[in-house]
């Protein structure tokens, strides 16, 4: 007990130290990225948040998701000019710059304006497109709202971490700002009158207005500073050669007037998307999502049980060091949100070792589940009458055999319902991996939302799928539970 407290006290400074180390440790990209580095690895990794048609969005080509849009064509142009292969990585918009700083991606093109604030942590190219800012409103309200000034004291929606968020905050008096990560979610909020308008880039607002008869775009009439106009390419800080290479490509784009061409291409692709918006048409999206969700859940359950058993034994062990370590781990993991753990594994550990998003997701979810499984197993073992151990040991069975043949079988039977609960909640909780771009069910739901401009139908489908998954699992678990019951 005493040693536990000591370890806990010891843990706090350790955590602080770790925090300081990480914040001091300038990421891998501290020296920036150079053209020759990119050319050496023959790939240019683009980070983008593909929920922002016509800048970047997803289309389904032969059953496969493809990120397309004006920005992607800009990126392709740059990759071609550098003579390397373009790799597209999708993430939430507010995770993009972190991804850039931690070396997950080489550049970010995501309708991002080169604000002074952002320029402190990344390098920007010249502006490649001047979009302007609009506000999206419900058609019924189009007469009330004329510009940003109509929204004083009203509820306005913006994408989290976006320039629009700053604009709305600074230029609409007393506005109540709702920040969501995905534009389709904002549109849903707008339609259900949770908010009165969405501040968005003009092309995006135009795209939604032309695809959804219930929505209308109005000119925001914001006062835009030089740094808030248009979109630029972001690179890691101190990457002068990449920036100048990008500027050369952008100069060509401007000279050859490629942007209108890009927008036209994007428009065409958007039409193929909205051509058929029935959910059946998108079954392959959901199927892929189910695949990833099940994969993450099953692998995490397996690893979680394995580590959970080890942790449980460590926690009940007489070895005070092992005990303390297990207690610390369990308390820490249970005391922090899964979402932060996932981001820590992906971005934090990614500073030293670059791990793919799926792996990071599986690691984080497994390690998280292990802590809960450990507690369930420990309580199961503790609940077994000590007389069982005494009887077994009095017969000459070793501690190990006692655990294996007597205690664990009984404990497993007792904790089965609790374990089952953990597995079921794991199916649902694994959805958080979508924030780092793992294409699980939730992620695919958002993809379908962006692709079809339909908000509610995909949510309903995903909800049904989750229910079918958890319900089947709970039936299976009940079946096993009945099998374990003797008379």
């Amino acid at each position: 007990m005493n040693i536990k407290k000591k370890l806990m006290i010891l843990m706090l400074p350790l955590m602080l130290l770790l925090g300081v180390m990480i914040s001091n440790n300038q990421p891998v990209s501290a020296a920036g990225q150079t053209v020759s580095q990119v050319q050496a690895k023959k790939t240019l990794v683009l980070g983008t948040s593909p929920d922002y048609a016509p800048y970047e969005f997803l289309v389904n080509k032969n059953g496969k998701n493809k990120t397309v849009g004006m920005d992607i064509q800009v990126a392709q142009k740059l990759a071609d000019d550098l003579n390397v292969k373009l790799v597209v990585k999708s993430m939430d918009f507010d995770a993009l710059l972190v991804g850039l700083e931690t070396g997950k991606v080489d550049m970010v093109i995501s309708a991002m304006s080169p604000t002074d604030e952002r320029s402190k942590s990344v390098d920007f190219s010249d502006v490649y497109y001047l979009g302007g800012q609009s506000i999206l409103v419900n058609k019924a309200d189009a007469k009330i709202y004329k510009s940003k000034n109509s929204f004083i004291g009203k509820k306005v929606g913006v994408q989290t971490g976006s320039l629009q968020q700053t604009l709305a905050k600074k230029q609409i008096k007393n506005a109540q700002i709702t920040g969501l990560t995905k534009v389709p979610d904002l549109v849903l909020a707008l339609k259900s009158h949770k908010i009165e308008g969405i501040v968005a880039e003009t092309p995006v607002a135009t795209a939604y207005a032309s695809n959804d008869p219930e929505l209308v775009r109005i000119d925001g009439k914001f006062d835009l500073g030089a740094d808030m106009q248009g979109s630029a390419i972001a690179f890691p800080k101190n990457s002068p050669t990449l920036v100048s290479a990008a500027n050369q490509s952008i100069a060509q784009i401007k000279k050859q007037k490629l942007i209108p061409q890009y927008l036209k291409n994007a428009g065409k692709l958007m039409k193929t998307n909205t051509h058929n918006t029935s959910m059946w048409h998108y079954w392959s999206y959901f199927a892929k999502g189910i695949g990833y969700t099940l994969f993450i859940t099953i692998v995490s359950i397996a690893i979680g049980i394995l580590i959970g058993v080890i942790l449980a034994f460590a926690r009940i062990s007489k070895n005070k060091f092992m005990h303390g370590l297990a207690v610390m781990y369990i308390e820490f993991v249970r005391g922090t949100p899964l979402m932060i753990q996932i981001m820590f594994v992906y971005f934090g550990i990614g500073l030293w070792i670059n791990i793919p998003a799926l792996l990071a997701g599986v690691i984080a979810v497994s390690l998280n589940s292990a802590a809960y499984v450990a507690e369930i197993i420990r309580s199961g073992i503790n609940a077994i009458d000590p007389g069982q151990t005494e009887a077994s040991r009095s017969l000459g069975l070793s501690q190990h055999d006692t655990m294996r043949y007597i205690i664990l079988p009984q404990a497993l039977k007792n904790i089965w319902p609790a374990l089952g609960n953990e597995f079921i909640s794991l199916i649902k909780e694994s959805s958080i991996v979508s924030i780092i771009g793992v294409t699980d069910l939730i992620y695919q739901l958002k993809v379908v939302q962006s692709a079809t401009y339909k908000g509610v139908a995909p949510i309903f489908v995903a909800m049904l799928i989750y229910f079918v998954l958890t319900f089947s699992l709970s039936k299976l678990l009940n079946y096993i539970e009945r099998k374990m019951q003797h008379a």
Binding site: E390, S392, S394, L397, A487
Partner: protein
């Protein structure tokens, strides 16, 4: 066979055994009686080190148990069967497997060997028809008879009984005592902690009276029950026999 020398057991500052000594010869039946909290069960549980004695010595067939490693202790325990007040049968196993587990895992007997022996023991305690039953399908008396059979399955040299009838309904006490009596007649060495004075008088070779963390008096049943020497013994017997 079993020599107890100045055994001490403390829980924190609470002295439960205060220098207890005694000898158990092969084939002897020792019955330990005395008031609750006197240290009887602790003494018994120290004999196979289910409780770790704080001091003193236990010699079993010449081996000092206090010096043994965990592994060596497991070996010794196979020769010291134990029967518990609450039976402690394994509810996750059938009756048959309760009897077969230790012989197979510890003595490495073959399944056929273990089964044959288990069947013989079940017959002996009169419960052959329960071989495939699970523990929760048995009555208390049946459970304790199975527990005795389970201890016997290891062919121990001595059997330790920790209040084997205390958790039983009165009408089931007889069937368990009968099995124990038969064992005693066959020459099994036994140490029995019990409140069954009739059993002590009839079956014991020697009765130990324990109170206040010590053995107050030892003697044959006649000596102890009919002519107790110590006032503490007299007081206890007066109380018990008055009931």
């Amino acid at each position: 066979m079993l020599k107890i020398n100045q055994l001490v057991k403390k829980y924190d500052d609470n002295l439960v055994l205060n220098g207890v000594s005694g000898d158990v010869e092969a084939g002897q039946v020792i019955v330990v009686i005395g008031p609750s909290g006197g240290g009887k069960s602790t003494l018994l549980r120290c004999l196979n080190r289910l409780e770790e004695p704080t001091g003193g010595q236990i010699l079993f067939e010449g081996t000092d148990l206090m010096t043994l490693s965990e592994k060596e202790l497991d070996q010794i325990r196979t020769k010291m069967g134990m029967v518990f007040q609450n039976f402690n049968l394994f509810p996750n196993l059938t009756v048959m497997d309760n009897l077969r587990l230790a012989p197979q895992k510890v003595k490495k007997e073959s399944a056929a060997e273990a089964t044959k022996q288990a069947e013989a023991l079940l017959e002996r305690v009169g419960l052959s028809e329960k071989a495939d039953a699970y523990v929760n399908q048995l009555s208390g008396g049946q459970k304790q008879r199975i527990a005795i059979a389970r201890a016997l399955a290891m062919s121990p040299d001595v059997l330790l009984f920790d209040e084997p009838t205390s958790a039983l309904d009165p009408e089931m006490v007889g069937e368990v005592l009968k099995v124990m009596q038969d064992l005693a007649q066959e020459g099994m060495t036994m140490v029995v902690v019990t409140h069954e004075m009739g059993f002590a008088r009839e079956v014991a070779d020697e009765v130990w009276f324990m109170a206040d963390s010590q053995i107050v008096e030892k003697g044959t049943p006649e000596e102890l029950f009919d002519h107790p020497q110590e006032p503490r013994t007299q007081q206890f017997l007066a109380q018990v026999l008055a009931q």
